[in-house]
Symmetry: C2
Subunit: 285 residues, 2 copies
Amino acid sequence: MKIISSPSEMNALTRAYRKNGATIGLVPTMGALHQGHVSLLATSAARADVTVLSIFVNPTQFGPAEDYGRYPRAFEADRGKAAAAGCTVIFAPEVDGMYPPGHRTIVEVEELGARLCGVSRPTHFRGVATVVLKLINIVAPDFAFFGQKDAQQVIILKRMTTDLQVPVTIEICATVREADGLAMSSRNAYLSPQERRAAPAIYRGLQAALDRYDHGERNSAPLREAVVSCVRAEPLMQPEYIDIVDTQSLHYLAMVSSTALIAVACRTAESGTRLIDNIVIGGSL
Amino acid sequence: MKIISSPSEMNALTRAYRKNGATIGLVPTMGALHQGHVSLLATSAARADVTVLSIFVNPTQFGPAEDYGRYPRAFEADRGKAAAAGCTVIFAPEVDGMYPPGHRTIVEVEELGARLCGVSRPTHFRGVATVVLKLINIVAPDFAFFGQKDAQQVIILKRMTTDLQVPVTIEICATVREADGLAMSSRNAYLSPQERRAAPAIYRGLQAALDRYDHGERNSAPLREAVVSCVRAEPLMQPEYIDIVDTQSLHYLAMVSSTALIAVACRTAESGTRLIDNIVIGGSL
């Protein structure tokens, strides 16, 4: 497994792979790999000849009061997990390599980036869209793999690659969960023991909504209420939003007549950790 | 010479060319071809195996009160000029093909797009950056050719392709002029006979500044004054800006110590036509 930090070296390497007819899968991450990332790597390794894992804690997707500085970094552990999952190359650029002096270009997916998580993180998805487009241009992959846990991110990136005619296929992989249903996240490491015990309430709420949907409920209000009541039962989980939205426009849905996203963000009361999760009903992303 | 309107068909064709080892040059235009465009096509034809001329009057780079509706369209004449200049493919998409319903992504080069022409055209360069990135992704060229007449555009597009790591080389070609020095522009067709006679004052002013520079003047104030006095001598030419700026940052320069751009925009008094021109002193773009 190669480890590369220079964007131009990375680009030259994957262009050489492509020239030899190899297909390339990209798994963009911020490191601190968990089982969700590992499943993305394994999916890529099964699908493409070459799997590139990018590890880059991207400063432009963090707000000024957010956890950029203390976001977990664990390169040595990541390296072992990546190799075991069939990764071919780790691309781990420095901040100066990705954003050299004079960098001024941003990519924005209007409207979609302002909803759901965008309300409390107004510049987050601009940072994500910009860095992912850069990573795609550097790595030139055939496929890029993302987890459904970050549903809004995936919806925005699909919109971006379609709109800008970027020659890559965005692949969405199922959310990987702990045994009690908590979605895997590098930020779960921030949780206090009490918060960790309370956190599966989010998934229980989503499952309760799915159960009602499976029994025929199509009104958003009672579906949403099923999530709200589960989450509110845990005082350590403070909801930021619990919404049922269209999977293309992210507009609120009064009725679930086709595919819908039920998306949740909570902040925990002790450590202030922000947790997100979602399910898609009536179809897929 | 092929004529293609479908983005996916265009993309499939140039990917096939590339697979066969051909190099591709892209000349993005809004049509109504003049000798400046023809020189870009000829330069591309000499440099690349395949030359793609795109013709697309891009609505997103026009402001609401601008000339999108009446911008000159002359497809039949363009076709003849393109074939004669060695063009391989004309890519002429429809607006719906480039901006299908739901399109929401924009590319913005912050700061650079707000200066010079960006003062009166605040969304212009966002529209240009977005459409050019899309055209580059569709055509997948090795080179893209632009005229120096649109210096701010070229500076912004170079910044964009560098920042986003787009695998293309931006080539800048000299401004092509009428015998009396007026820079070729599709908008020159709007000029009244009197305005047409007055318009070379812009170039005379730029040449007067260059003459002072060549005689050792390095203060921006007298260099700028050389342009101002020439332009002001023609009441039909109403300056929007006459500025001496850094070619990277577009910041005003008090002294010309290395490369500088002297850029002019005027609106004509009768037809309200907007004319731009520039020279680069002490180096090149």
